[in-house]
Amino acid sequence: MKKGDFVILALVLALAVLPLLLLLPEESAPAQALVRQNGRLLRALPLDTDCTMAFTLEDGINVVEISDGTVRIIQADCPDGTCMRMGPICRTGETLVCLPHRLTVEITGADEAVDAVTR
């Protein structure tokens, strides 16, 4: 490791933290899961009521389940199935993504997705 390597290391760390600083401070609405397709809001589901809802899109189907304040995609017919392995999520800013169907499920207004803050 040389001197410049540590400069790169510091830059990457700064770049890694940047999205947290820019995107985390958000409005405090009631905790809900926003289901979007192509950025268009399909449905806002409150996290405090358990429910299972199927979203039929032109590319396929995604079934979103809310239980105990956490959200998962329990069923999807996309080729990779990555969205089903991403959950469950429960904190603000956490997001489930199904890229083949361009579907995202994002949490707003819940606990912050920060483990600790150092000053």
Partner: protein, 170 residues
């Protein structure tokens, strides 16, 4: 356009073949992490080696073969988009840092890995029109520090050994 030397063609093709092999083997062992898109990125070693031992132009062709044939063999059109954007950003960073005295291949590889992830996250955010997906960059970039160091270290070892071989005249 200047002609490629026979040495560049042969070694570049060898490295490109290695890149595909490494990509394939890596695709068999996904990281046991809840981070889609996270991977060791060991095939980047070959692009880095091409930069270290050959030249930027040849390295770019190694990258192009890795991205295009890799997508054709083990990928999807969407994964091609990720690999192309991530690969180009990563290559730009590694090429810019190439042969700088203050930067070792490890730093080069970390920068490459971090920018590869940045490309992936940007593509995901653009495809889904969800800027908040950029939050996902934080864990990916932290992981890139580790995986980037690992592949940079391995590339350095390979480069040292390969430079001792008789066919390495340059």
């Amino acid at each position: 356009m200047k002609k490629f030397s026979t040495r560049s063609i042969v070694l570049g093709a060898l490295l490109a073949a290695c890149a595909l092999l490494v990509s394939f083997i890596e695709s068999l062992f996904p990281l046991p992490l809840p981070l889609p898109g996270a991977k060791l990125g060991l095939s980047n070693i070959t692009v880095l080696l091409a930069l270290l031992l050959l030249d930027g132009r040849t390295a770019f062709f190694v990258l192009a073969v890795k991205v295009l044939l890799g997508a054709l063999l083990f990928g999807t059109p969407i994964s091609l988009l990720y690999a192309a954007v991530g690969g180009s950003l990563s290559f730009a960073a590694m090429a810019a840092l190439n042969a700088r005295r203050s930067v070792s291949p490890i730093g080069q590889s970390i920068a490459g890995a971090a920018l590869h992830n940045l490309g992936q996250v940007l593509v995901a955010a653009a495809l889904t029109a969800t800027p908040r997906l950029l939050l996902y960059y934080t864990p990916l970039a932290l992981l890139a520090l580790l995986t980037g160091s690992l592949s940079g270290f391995l590339a350095q070892l390979c480069a040292r050994s390969l430079r001792r071989l008789p066919f390495h005249s340059g």
